[in-house]
């Protein structure tokens, strides 16, 4: 299949394809980081994760409209406000949900699945009632559109670079929050031994709420960033849920590094296969491989050395 092309063309295409894989990798990490915190650290199966992302997307949509109408001079940089607001909005909703729903269910992880599925239905219908059933178009500042041509064929999409940088920033941020801050220390303590953590004076309820809110907030940022590459509609969140859970499980639920490694593995596999096979079959094969590996190695790529 490559006979018709020159070496430079092939080289460029492989470079492009590698870059496409990297973008997919960043997208996966963004999607999965919030869930890795909520599911991996807290053990809550948050089926409404996609809806928290879409909340971020809608917040971005509102921001873009408001800024465009009232303060067009700031349109170029509104995206940063929008992401911050998306974080706050999704985080606040997350805290509310944790307080009203999740905290009653920590001892019944499978039930969190059902409750959050119900929540996701309610959120979907709420989006539909508020924003309409149709997809909304989020207008973006011009500097985020388009691409940087490197050679004749190689063009680097700017929004791809933006997503990659954002992912890096957020991943580093999460690392610092969880492993270098007081809150992170408390979170890890609560995850490892709730009773003991309570006994040494950690307010476990507060820690739970903050952790859950943090996970949801990151989902909000992810949703905000995805307005650049995907669609924003009431049911768009459902598209992400299976991929996201598989990534987290494949990585080894309790390990953030695992989530990143599994994002990398799955994204590279998928984008390589997409190039050689049709899109549908590539997806099927990727998922099958992941499920197959999980059956052989149920604890995922990275696991804590404990046997439950």
């Amino acid at each position: 299949m490559f006979a018709d092309y020159s070496w430079t063309e092939l080289g460029s295409i492989f470079a492009m394809q590698g870059f496409a894989g990297l973008i997919l990798f960043s997208v996966f990490v963004l999607m999965a980081l919030g869930l890795a915190i909520i599911f991996g650290q807290m053990g809550v199966i948050n089926m409404a994760h996609g809806e928290f992302m879409i909340l971020g997307a809608y917040v971005t949509y509102l921001c873009s409209n408001i800024v465009e109408t009232y303060i067009p001079s700031l349109f170029g940089i509104y995206f940063f406000f929008a992401m911050a607001l998306a974080f706050v909005a999704a985080g606040a909703l997350g805290a509310l949900v944790e307080w009203s729903l999740i905290r009653h269910l920590y001892k019944r992880p499978l039930d969190t699945l059902l409750a959050t599925w119900g929540l996701s239905l309610i959120l979907q219908q709420a989006y539909r009632s508020i924003f309409g059933a149709r997809e909304v178009g989020v207008s973006l500042p011009n500097w985020l559109l388009g691409s940087v041509p490197l050679t004749d064929i190689i063009e680097i999409p700017i929004n791809g670079i933006f997503v990659m940088v954002l992912t890096l920033v957020i991943a580093i941020g999460v690392y610092f929050i969880l492993f270098r801050s007081r809150m992170g220390m408390q979170t890890r303590a609560v995850v490892q031994n709730r009773v003991m953590a309570g006994a040494v004076g950690i307010n476990t309820e507060k820690v739970d709420r903050h952790t859950f809110a943090l996970g949801c907030g990151i989902a909000g940022i992810a949703g905000s960033a995805f307005t650049m590459i995907g669609s924003t509609g009431p049911t768009a969140g459902q598209l992400y849920i299976v991929d996201t859970f598989l990534i987290v499980v494949f990585g080894g639920a309790a390990s953030l590094l695992g989530t990143i490694a599994s994002s990398f593995a799955i994204s590279q596999a998928q984008s390589t296969m997409e190039f050689f096979l049709s899109g549908s079959m590539a997806k099927v094969l990727t998922l099958l491989t992941v499920v197959g590996i999980l059956m052989l190695r149920p604890e995922g790529l990275f696991s804590l050395k404990i046997r439950r």
């Binding site: 295409i13 059933a133 973006l140 669609s231 924003t232 509609g233 049911t235 899109g279």
Partner: protein, 417 residues
Amino acid sequence: MKRLKDLIDHRLSRRSVLSGTAAAAMLATASTFAPAFADDVNTTGLAVTDDTVKVGILHSVTGTMAISETGSVQAEKLAIEQINAMGGVLGRKIEYIQEDGASDWPTFAEKAKKLLVNDKVAAVFGCWTSASRKAVLPVFEQYNGMLYYPTFYEGLEQSPNVIYTGQEATQQIIAGIDWVAKEKGAKSFYLLGSDYIWPRTSNKIARKHIEKLGLKVVGEEYYPLGHTQFNSVINKIKLKKPDVIYAIVVGGSNVAFYKQLKAAGIDMTKEKPLLLTISVTEDEIRGIGGENIEGAYAAMKYFQSLDNENNAEFVKSFKEMWGDDIVIGDVTQAAYLGPWLWKAAVEKAGSFDIDKVRLASPGIELTTAPEGYVRVHENHHLWSKTRIGLAKPDGQYELVYETTDLMEPDPFPEGYQ
């Protein structure tokens, strides 16, 4: 509700000034039928009284398809209101019963059956996806109902109980490909679609036609519904350098596809490659964003920007009823035709009986159609023109070409029978 009432008043007050227009002509025909007794115009026990007739509207208001089907519901309600304001059908006001298919095919079948068996409606306007149509089809055939189906679709079907008001695949595809081949000198095509029957069948028809013209298909690719990562296929397109990307991506995938296409540096306004789609109406552009799809061409039968009197009137009424910020796509217009075609057939038949309406349907003309003029073919599809539109950054299409003749519907093209 108030808006609705205003609209009706508005339409009524306009009656006098409408003389001479086609709308008034239809009004005149309507009034020549003096309201007959219900038993005379309805021998099969449909829900027809001396001054009302019940019809059904069956679309998804919830679920993933609600996005697409909303416009159709609005158009059908508008048409029904207008018909009522003009005196109804055979002197009877139309009352509609709306059911939600909930984007779930058995629910469609279930509700279709309810409408036919329990509510005994005289006609149903509804369905959007092929899957929902396939699910209700046996119900309509078993209980002898009449369905007006608005979506452009893959063809390969011709039911006595369905009037297809959208275009079937060949109508949409052949004119479009002829046009890019002739006007734009296109030699090679890359076919791309969402993975289900309509894009696949359409691409097969397209491939056949492309090869018949002696041109080349350099790639064909399908992605699952809802897929949002198109960078790989965009790279393949860059490698193959086709003259035309023939895209039949649907739903949320559309948004991702066009955004990523633009981000990958494929500027469609330069037409290298040119993008021709049959799946993106003005409705979809709202989600995609006009700036992301600027320069693409679409082949379908209706654009909101069509410049004719019927359409000006239609767009105006539609916005009065449903708000100024609404856009109208091909399917919405086709859905609008349903009630009018039904009215015309009922009046030609002089009866609401399904069998009589069916017999009366072929040959029914609509000179008031927003798209211009349509006529019902023997095979229950519509003769209609196919048009090519160029996507503008404001989210509208600019008409660049229309077939001089009406395209004949051919739901079973050669090699597919």
